[in-house]
């Protein structure tokens, strides 16, 4: 997976035309719209410590999708919810008004609520809640640009921010999505591919413990497609986890020097 | 009058006599998880009620030291009315009806026997064809009885109106929106006490006497029906437990 450092503000003029026949999305030789091969992920740029006010934070860029996550806490649960003797994770995902092609994406609030729930479900299994009893860790994710595969990028970036905040975790959570255009599986799909997809699969997993924490699938899948898709996503998640680990190590070591 | 509510032969739009109540149907214990539950149907208006409690008060500030705290929530299903657009749950009309139901139920429940506790009454309208408020009160009384909560008397309620200068009993949606007055009464039949009396639109005083009288008779009739249902239910329970050899 190309882990090249794309300069974070390179504004390629990739116009994404919305209504496009699926044939234009992948050429006969199997090259996708943006030049990648079907099983190749988008160039990723990861960086921790993006927000110094937060206990921990991370910024992630996967192709056109740009996300920033900041983690606060563990701190006292604000409105005194019911007493709970283990820690609480409070996740909130919001879209910037300029995130989508149309300003203030319509139906944003239901999508935001849904993404917040899914972010919580994806991270819940990876965070050792018993190490900060009765307090809450707040995870605020902001999607700066929605270029497709927003949820998996938010998940990976959030787990990076949690690690950067020093929260005790069982493992990093890396996530990837995959779109199916009749039989060919396009890994780490862009917005254009996602709109014309026949089916999609989003997987979040704890790579080194080899455990799936979140799985969402839509569209009609035969068994063969399904198992191949799962395998592709698992490999991609392991590679992504490797990249996340090196990002974490670099950021801490250059603080030392 | 554009719409003839009463045909020359004295029949209403749905074929009822002016002083006739719609078809009543009720059954108890429809929700296993609830302490007491009941559905109540008046013609096409169908309502389900569930009672939880008496249980510990959720927030200490509302706790009453000498009596039970009765809380009620009324909500309508999205599909209950013709047009699908239902407002959010906490809209004004639902809050007002919840308050009305709570007041009439609180008058019947012997709250002083259950101090420092809380009784939740939840009512959901499955189908609305006029008189939803009355159906909810009837369903709530049955649910409370099913939950074994001590009550001075069951609360029976029904609505009556006045169209084509004849008093009508138990209005359906068409008659309700026919522009005439709508008098909703909730009654403790044995104690002969009114726990709820609401009327909108104008009505001359002597006419009001007649409509009110008709409504009263309607409530008494519904109360008798509810008492039979409760009797029947208790017989089934006794039979199921083998106490009574029927």
């Amino acid at each position: 997976m190309a882990a090249s450092r794309v300069s974070s503000y390179s504004l390629e003029s990739q116009r994404v035309s919305l209504a496009r026949g699926s044939s234009a999305l992948i050429s006969p030789e199997g090259v996708r719209e943006d030049g990648r091969s079907p099983h190749e992920c988008r160039p990723a740029f990861l960086q921790t410590g993006a927000v110094n006010a937060a206990a921990g934070s991370a910024y992630a860029e996967f192709g056109q999708t740009k996300v920033i996550v900041s983690v606060f806490g563990p701190r006292e649960s604000k409105k005194a919810q019911a007493y709970s003797d283990i820690g609480r994770l409070n996740c909130n995902v919001s879209f910037a008004t300029f995130a989508g092609s149309v300003r203030g994406k319509a139906g944003q609030s239901t999508e935001e609520k849904e993404y917040s729930q899914m972010l919580y479900k994806g991270l819940e299994g990876a965070v050792a809640l018993h190490t900060f009893p009765k307090t809450t860790v707040d995870v605020f994710a902001l999607i700066l640009q929605s270029g497709g595969g927003d949820l998996p990028v938010v998940l990976s970036c959030a787990s990076l921010a949690l690690a950067d905040a020093g929260i005790v975790m069982y493992d990093l959570v890396s996530a990837i999505s995959l779109s199916r255009l009749d039989t060919n599986l396009l890994l780490d799909a862009t917005l254009g591919e996602e709109i014309n997809q026949d089916g999609s699969l989003m997987l979040a997993c704890m790579a080194s413990r080899n455990e799936v924490t979140q799985l969402l699938l839509t569209g009609e899948w035969s068994q063969a497609n399904l198992s191949e898709g799962l395998k592709l996503c698992l490999d991609a998640c392991t590679k992504l986890a490797g990249l996340m680990r090196s990002t974490l190590k670099e950021s801490t070591s250059n603080i030392e020097d | 009058m554009a719409l003839e509510f009463i045909s020359p032969e004295g029949l209403r739009l749905d074929g009822r006599r002016p002083a006739e109540i719609r078809q009543l149907r009720a059954n108890l214990g429809v929700i296993d998880k609830a302490d007491g539950s009941a559905t109540f149907e008046m013609g096409n208006t169908k309502v389900i009620a569930a009672v939880y409690g008496p249980h510990e008060v959720q927030n200490r500030s509302q706790q009453l030291l000498d009596q039970a705290l009765v809380k009620c929530e009324y909500s309508m299903a999205n599909f209950s009315t013709g047009d699908r657009r239902r407002k959010q749950k906490g809209d004004r009309r639902s809050v007002e009806i919840s308050l009305v139901i709570r007041q009439s139920m609180e008058a019947a429940i012997m709250t002083h026997l259950l101090p420092r506790t809380q009784i939740d009454i939840f009512v959901h309208v499955l189908q609305a064809d006029g008189g939803t408020r009355s159906a909810c009160i009837n369903a709530a009384s049955l649910a409370l009885a099913d939950a074994g909560i001590p009550m001075r008397d069951i609360v029976a309620s029904c609505a009556s109106g006045y169209l084509n200068n004849t008093p009508l009993l138990d209005l359906n949606y068409l008659e309700d929106s026919g522009g005439g007055p709508d008098v909703t009464i909730a009654l403790l039949p044995k104690l002969d006490k009114i726990t709820l009396l609401q009327m909108d639109a104008k009505l001359p005083l002597e006419m009001f006497e007649k409509v009110f009288e008709l409504g009263n008779k309607g409530c008494v009739a519904i109360a008798n029906y509810m008492r039979n249902v409760l009797l029947e239910n208790t017989k089934d329970l006794a039979f199921a437990r083998g106490v009574v050899k029927v």
Binding site: L216 | K33, A77
Partner: protein, 290 residues
């Protein structure tokens, strides 16, 4: 409803499941008996009430004429909205039930209609009247009256039953107007020429709940309170997987995941047949009632 299980009850439940025994005597992969009633909401185009054990839900399908989406001129739109009534549990009072309602609505939307409505479950192109200008919009509303676990599976059955009971009135276009103005049309309201819905492709959802190291089908609320993780898998009559939603926190080993999917496929065969049988029975009961 938060089930107050004592430690002993919890041990009894989890150890029982580990040995393949469940509190109510069912096997690990057995469904509870369920009953289906059709056409219980007269104002709706189609409605159903399904009771599975103590879980009780009502769904209604309403069709309204409207403009199709710009990006999908040749298809009607479908919206699914589930509501948890406070009668099911005191926690659902006020805004309490909203999170669960959103989760159920999205899971159903994802499994039944797949992404942005292109799924094969419901043939949306049959909903168009005039391409690009006029189409039927389906509003599927669900209401949970009483909940004893496994809500998603019951709701899926209820939606399938409601759709099978749905009748869409025939629309004669009296004057095919030019592109922009409104075409005028006339909706026939005699029930005979209502076009029904082919629901054979609509999938059923099987939720596998992992308690300890074993997973079970159709968990009651008590069993759900002990779950470490749960997966809802939608399978249609062709045996294809139409949607997967993972709930619950703990991670799942991918191999276990694949086993769960195959078990779901196995169970779905028998469930699909029982659901169709129940719907058939309900329809015949419905006819003699009419």
């Amino acid at each position: 409803m938060v089930v107050g299980l004592s430690a002993a009850e919890r041990r009894y439940l989890t150890d029982g499941i580990a040995q393949g025994l469940r509190n109510d005597g069912r096997g690990l992969y057995d469904f509870r008996a369920f009953s289906v009633e059709l056409a219980i909401i007269p104002q709706a185009n189609g409605s159903a009430r399904v009771r599975l054990g103590a879980t009780d839900v009502i769904t209604s399908v309403k069709a309204e004429l409207g403009r199709p989406q710009a990006s999908r001129p040749s298809q009607g739109r479908v919206e699914i909205n589930i509501e948890c009534s406070s009668t099911a549990a005191p926690q659902f009072e006020g805004r309490g039930g909203e999170d669960l309602s959103l989760e159920l609505s999205r899971a159903l939307y994802r499994s039944l209609l797949c992404n942005n409505g292109t799924g094969p479950a419901i043939d949306l192109s049959a909903l168009t009247v005039i391409e690009g200008k006029l189409c039927w919009n389906l509003f599927i509303d669900g209401l949970v009256l009483s909940s004893d676990g496994n809500l998603l599976d019951v709701l899926a059955i209820a939606v399938k039953a409601a759709l099978s009971n749905t009748g869409i009135p025939k629309v004669e276009v009296t004057s095919a107007a030019a592109a922009e103005q409104e075409a005028d049309f006339e909706i026939s309201d005699n029930p005979d020429d209502f076009s029904g819905f082919d629901v054979s492709h609509v999938p059923v959802i099987i939720t596998l709940t992992k308690v300890g190291r074993t997973y079970i089908v159709d968990a009651t609320e008590e069993e759900e309170s002990q779950m470490s993780s749960a997966i809802s898998i939608a399978v249609n009559s062709a045996g294809h997987v139409c949607g997967i939603t993972k709930r619950g926190g703990a991670g799942l080993d991918p191999s276990v995941l694949l086993d769960m999917i195959s078990v779901a496929k196995e169970v779905s065969k028998s469930l699909l047949s029982t659901v169709d049988a129940e719907i058939m029975a309900a329809e015949s009961r419905g006819d003699d009632q009419m």
